[in-house]
């Protein structure tokens, strides 16, 4: 069946075409794929290297230099690919790739939660309007202006110690994360609600749920996808920041943020900068990869994401 009408390519197909032509988006895609493979296969990679993230290797440390690793590049060798951690001698490669796994896991789960909650809240606010919309908008205003990091640190005091911290981290990041998407989707959906096809669907007696899922949602896939992709680097950074401050993922679970925090003393004295550079570079590439990908998706879908409204 050949189309006789010129230019009847679906918006999604157009977006894919634009994405393929965008060089930095392709770099982002490659980086992200690589990162996800590393994170998913991290336990396997660590076993391949013949190491784990918990065994101490005191013999590899130099007591004369305050237990910094012996040898150049933080003690990197054929057995310890990224060298070892100062003070404990644990394998830094294992800590770095498992830390990446922790980061990506938390960021992806939070993104899934906030995307679902934010989209539903935004669409329903636009569709139902009235006091529901008014209350939700005030709540969003409130969440936007909130000193989130302060609150996230403070919450640590209320939550019992036996409550798993990674779950707390996911919940807290989600609590503040859905607001941005909800507002954007609400504004986009409001202009859709007034269009003829929605009116038509309503007039033939479609239920609210049907209109939202069949008429509104398909038209909002672009913005949702864009915001979700662009949100991931933010969550990676937020998780790392909280772990850096000592209120994130607790030991012994490896975390890039906590390793970077541990490295402060070794950076001040210059005794072992590699302890910062390996986890730091990994964190940088994680954020960079998802940012490039997100920018690419945004340009491809041609969504205007002005934070001003």
């Amino acid at each position: 069946m050949s189309s006789s009408v010129a230019g009847t390519v679906s918006p999604t197909r157009q977006a894919m075409r634009r994405f393929r032509r965008d060089r930095s988006a392709r770099i982002g895609l490659v980086l992200v794929t690589l990162l996800i493979v590393i994170a998913a296969a991290a336990p396997l990679l660590v076993r391949l290297a013949g190491q784990d993230a918990t065994t101490y290797h005191i013999d590899l440390l130099d007591p004369a230099r305050g237990n910094a690793p012996r040898g150049p590049v933080g003690g990197a060798s054929g057995t310890h690919w990224f060298g070892v951690e100062p003070l404990t001698g644990r394998d830094l490669f294992a800590i770095t790739v498992l830390g990446l796994r922790t980061s990506l896991f938390i960021a992806v789960v939070v993104t899934l939660i906030t995307t679902v909650v934010g989209t539903l809240a935004g669409i329903s606010a636009a569709y139902f309007g009235g006091w529901y919309d008014a209350v939700l908008s005030r709540l969003l205003d409130f969440l936007f202006g909130f000193p989130q990091l302060v609150f996230m640190i403070a919450l640590g005091i209320v939550v019992p110690a036996r409550f798993p911290r990674w779950l707390l981290l996911i919940l807290v990041l989600s609590l503040f994360g859905w607001a941005g998407l909800a507002r954007l989707i609400r504004n986009q959906a409001r202009s859709l609600v007034a269009r003829e096809f929605v009116e038509a669907a309503r007039s033939v007696g479609s239920s609210g749920w049907m209109v939202i899922t069949r008429e509104l949602l398909p038209n909002l896939i672009g913005p949702v996808l864009v915001v979700a992709t662009l949100a991931i680097p933010g969550y990676i950074g937020a998780e790392a920041a909280l772990s850096f401050l000592g209120v994130g993922v607790p030991p012994p679970t490896p975390s890039l943020g906590r390793s970077i925090s541990d490295s402060i003393a070794w950076v001040y004295t210059g005794a072992d900068p590699w302890f910062l550079l390996f986890p730091g570079t990994m964190l940088f590439f994680a954020v960079l990869g998802f940012t490039l990908l997100g920018d690419g998706v945004r340009d491809a879908f041609d969504v205007r994401l002005r934070r001003t409204s």
Binding site: F142, I153, A154, P273, G280, R307, T308
Partner: protein, 332 residues
């Protein structure tokens, strides 16, 4: 300008309501803490009798609502814990009393605030200047080297966590090049030069990172603005390029930049807290993290509410500036 006065009054009232709602919410959340602060204060051996005494002294034996009302009263009029010779006075504005540290929370906050505020304010000034000017330069040189450089800096800034860049700066400029001090805070009153010298690296680090989104916003806004009819008119009437860009173009850029700044205030405080840890300065973040570790609820509630109030207040100012700058914002 009666419209403006009315606008400001309404915003003030709204801000006050938000503050009250917020303080109640925070109070209820944090007083659900599973550990008993009186238990930590009553000493060993902690007999039921002494525990009861401690609870009474700390006013924990009252209902949560009563405690909240006392807290509000304390902000306005101060409050006293216990009576007689052992009484502890907490002067207005009293944001609670830390029994583990034996100091009013307000004093604790104001001891630490200068550190965090110095980092945040200096960085904010620097990043607004840096962000807007680089954005304008990028827009004027669209597609050329300067534009690409500015976009590159913006991308790097968006992708680097502040604590990571801070530590790299310490490593390169502090340790390898030995140019700047790497840690510690010197009060402004002690030595303004040393104050600025110790803060210069944190400022630059925080400013470079946060300037990124301002570079992007200014660039796109400026490009859009320069294509508008009134700019063409201004050019046709013979206005110089500098005048066109600086007075006409920039004006349209400022409003969205200020809006973005209002949204970033919370992040600014967060960035300052991360930065103070990187540079080993004891500011509000350190106070809060230590308090969480010591189950010092009064300090945790005090710091949380205080920073929320700061953000609400700063937002109010941004809102008012916005209203004055942009005639389209209705004052009615």
């Amino acid at each position: 300008m009666p419209g403006l006065v009315w606008f400001v009054t309404r915003r003030l009232a709204a801000a006050l309501i938000v503050m009250l709602a917020l303080s109640l919410a925070v109070y209820l959340i944090f007083y659900a803490i599973p550990a008993d602060p009186a238990h930590l204060a009553c000493g060993k051996p902690c007999t039921p009798d002494r525990l009861e005494q401690a609870r009474h002294f700390m006013q924990l034996d009252q209902s949560t609502l009563q405690q909240y009302l006392n807290f509000l009263k304390g902000i306005v009029a101060g409050r006293t814990f216990g009576d007689g010779a052992a009484a502890v006075q907490c002067n207005a504005p009293c944001f609670g009393y830390s029994f583990p540290l034996a100091r009013p929370v307000t004093t604790l906050i104001f001891d630490r605030l200068p550190v965090t505020a110095s980092i945040a304010l200096g960085a904010a000034v620097l990043w607004l200047v840096l962000g807007v000017s680089l954005g304008v330069i990028a827009a004027l040189n669209r597609g050329r080297l300067a534009d690409r450089l500015a976009i590159g800096v913006a991308l790097l800034g968006v992708s680097t966590p502040s604590f990571l860049l801070g530590l790299l700066a310490i490593l390169v400029f502090g340790f390898w090049l030995n140019m700047v001090p790497v840690s510690g805070y010197v009060p402004l009153t002690e030595s303004p030069v040393d104050w600025a010298w110790h803060l210069i690296t944190p400022w630059i680090v925080l400013a470079i990172l946060s300037a990124a989104s301002y570079i992007r916003l200014t660039r796109s806004q400026m490009l859009e603005e320069l294509n508008l009819d009134y700019i063409t008119t201004a050019r046709a009437k013979g206005a110089g390029e500098a005048r066109v860009v600086l007075t006409h173009g920039l004006r349209g850029v400022l409003v969205p930049v200020i809006t973005l700044f209002g949204l970033d205030l919370g992040a600014l405080l967060g960035g300052a807290i991360l930065t103070e840890k990187v540079f080993s300065m004891q500011g509000l973040g350190d106070l809060l993290i230590t308090a969480v570790g010591q189950l010092d609820v009064a300090v945790v509630v005090g710091v949380t509410l205080f920073s929320a109030f700061l953000i609400i207040l700063a937002n109010l100012v941004v809102d008012i500036v916005h209203g004055v700058l942009d005639p389209r914002v209705s004052h009615g």
